[in-house]
Subunit: 435 residues, 2 copies
């Protein structure tokens, strides 16, 4: 073994994921070394607090509190950026890439916000920037899109990309408890962050959707060009109505390309997904992605979307790919071709909608509502009225035929102004994916 | 574009899959060329009948009826073996590999029966042998096992790997028709071969299971060391009982490695799979594979398992990988490490069983059967008796607690000898996968 080439790896950030990577590489080193024909050395790790106790044993001599020193250490060939954030993490990543190193990241926000700059730095200096762990944890979806499905154009990709939201929605459905109650429990169990808004408001999913869109289409869609909505307003009325109508409510990212105009539309929102779809039955912290390719048809990928081990699995697969490349001269990889496909205007998106209103329980309410919807040319497909928690009020659930965002938003605005409508109307999209 | 390197591709076999590859490469050539930085030339195709009409246009000058001439043509760098069979296909593959070419195959029987020899030839002469299309059609499961999940050891892999059987079982369940009726229809629709036994007797699935086992564990398991059973004896009584008990019947390949002994067990058989499992809801011609890794947990892959386009998608992804390697000097890839793990003896496999018996409708039958099962130490978990089609007979369905193959086979043998038991007892395995 002594004449094997040595590959030195540095880990920036020894949090949950960093410790997972350290643990599993240490545990399976012999397997990787025999597969790769190289010695893997975990050269050093950078941490914020040198004194903190960790679940993996790392010699003090290998710890540093200076990630930049690690990233620019001439002995280190592969840098794993597992710090998170988009400021220091960006500097560290760029510094390593500019030295021709390969950087492996689990940082979806960084890839999403600074992808073009980071990819350019990798290309220019002969290194690589890999980020399998940034989307859907342990599911090798990035490799599938880049390589396995390379023969395809992707008309539609949709997925459950946030384990926290899926966990909350699953428990709301199974246990009939309210969003705030489940959220508190999820926090206590470590399934939700103390500051949960990145997850529950849809931004984490939007970052991941942006990365998948670039992989599939070569076009960067900023989150501000997407519809992005979260799960915080979902009530048991919604969950129960969905259940009774044969749907599950899932926070979905939907990436579609119009066959005629090539326009790309990306939405992130809780949607009613028919139970007959495989992803409607992907529950708890699991992620799932359905990819429709023009050659292969629909393929589906399911697995744990987060957590120490699943994410470490993805980081390690990138490390192994990076080492294999390094040992063969680190040549450039075929990259998705960049395209500036036009972006669909969110207000032009079409679909079916679900609308929940609390209304005064008095005669003539339905007529007023029907007048408002017909003015916006929104056609009602079903209507379900049930008692509300409030006395003198009723809960009204409408579903529409195919309409568009502009019409439905105008409808919601006009409904809000009716004196018979109490509180805020609540809107969900119905994801039928029938075509 | 004119100074781009040229890559010449030859297609041995222009049947359904070959034509699909030709069609999609022709259609998306610009995309592949811009991604790869090379010109892709479909140099020639070999066919059995030069005069036959095909759905793709291929200039006469590019057609040959001599696959060996194609495989050894010095201008051709990448050979796609899409002929099928294990004799001429093997000679052609070996000839190309011995010239250092890369061979891409959809031929599961060939990989399964001659894998070691073919891999060795690729290694020795500096080429590659790729076979993504040989298992689960368009699902990039081989890439997932080789690369995406490289950090893992695989305790259990199970999957629906034969679209024909899944199509037949799905229709039997949905329409209540018998196996022979659906089989005839499937043949008429082109979903089953005229000679269907490779599919319905489980051998096609066994070939694919062997390939997955080698990828996951580095050990070749010959089909004769597996339990291999088909779907031809399944009746509506089985389907209905399964449905009512919360199961679907699926032809599954199950690959398990014992954590303590490292023994590998591979079974192919129709099994009762709980409806709560995602794969129980994978229907029609779709394939699905559930992979449990020690790091990532369970990941699931679903897609079309066969057909022109899905298979072409897999072949083309191998072609793109091969070209990218070729342009970078065609260096060796990290390979799964070979292991000679011990193989579990089929008779030692344990599990729960389902047993259907036609019995005489007379007093004392149950007592006789219970005596037989208890002699073999098989413990009955449930018993369901219903009228049979025959007068004076009843259909008896037993399920057992955990037992083993030896005990259950001895039970079946002893039951067969009882005068109260009419015809052949029919055995299914219950795949609970609870641990």
């Amino acid at each position: 073994m002594s004449d094997l080439p040595i590959v030195n790896i540095g880990i920036c950030g020894l949090g949950t994921v960093g410790q997972g990577v350290w643990k599993h590489i240490t545990r399976s080193r012999a397997k990787f070394e025999s597969r790769l024909g190289a010695r893997l050395v975990l050269k050093s790790a950078s941490v914020r607090d040198l004194g903190k106790k960790r679940s993996v044993r790392v010699a003090k001599s290998r710890l540093t509190d200076d990630p930049m020193a690690l990233a620019t250490d001439p002995k280190i060939q592969i840098v794993c950026e597992l710090m998170g954030g988009t400021t220091l993490a960006k500097d560290v990543t760029l510094a390593a890439l500019r030295l021709g190193k390969t950087v492996i990241s689990a940082n979806k926000a960084l890839v999403c916000e600074h992808g073009p700059e980071l990819f350019a730095a990798a290309r220019e200096h002969g290194g690589h920037y890999f980020f399998e762990a940034s989307v859907a944890g342990g599911i090798p979806i990035i490799k599938a899109l880049r390589e396995g499905l390379v023969a395809n154009r992707f008309r539609r990709i949709y997925g459950i990309l946030n384990g926290t939201c899926n966990y909350i929605l699953t428990r709301m459905e199974r246990e009939g408890l309210t969003y705030p109650v489940i959220l508190q429990e999820a926090k206590a169990l470590g399934y939700a962050e103390a500051e949960e808004s990145l997850d529950v408001d849809g931004w984490d999913t939007a970052h991941k959707a942006s990365i998948l869109t670039h992989l599939a289409h070569g076009t960067w869609v900023p989150t501000k060009a997407m519809v992005v909505e979260g799960i915080t307003q979902i009530t048991q009325a919604d969950i129960q109505h969905a259940k009774e109508s044969g749907f599950a409510i899932k926070l979905l990212a939907v990436i579609e390309q119009d066959e005629k105009t090539d326009e790309i539309a990306v939405s992130v929102a809780p949607m009613l997904l028919p139970r007959t779809k495989v992803l409607a039955n992907v529950n708890e912290v699991y992620n799932g992605i359905a990819v429709t390719g023009d050659v292969v048809g629909e393929t589906i990928y399911i697995g744990r979307g987060a957590g120490q081990d699943a994410t470490a699995s993805a980081v390690i697969s990138d490390i192994v790919d990076a080492i294999a490349l390094l040992l063969r001269g680190n040549a450039a990889l075929p990259e998705p071709v960049e395209h500036n496909y036009p972006l669909a205007k969110p207000e032009n998106l079409t679909g079916r909608y679900y609308l929940r209103l609390d209304v005064k329980d008095e005669p003539g309410v339905l007529a007023k509502i029907a007048t408002v919807t017909s003015k916006s040319k929104v056609s009602i497909a079903s209507l379900d009225q049930r008692p509300s928690d409030q006395t003198g009020a009723a809960s009204l659930i409408l579903t529409t035929h195919r309409s568009n965002e502009k019409a439905i938003r105008s409808t919601v605005n006009n409904l809000r102004r009716l004196s018979s409508v109490l509180g805020e109307p609540f809107l969900l999209r119905i994801a039928s994916f029938e075509d």
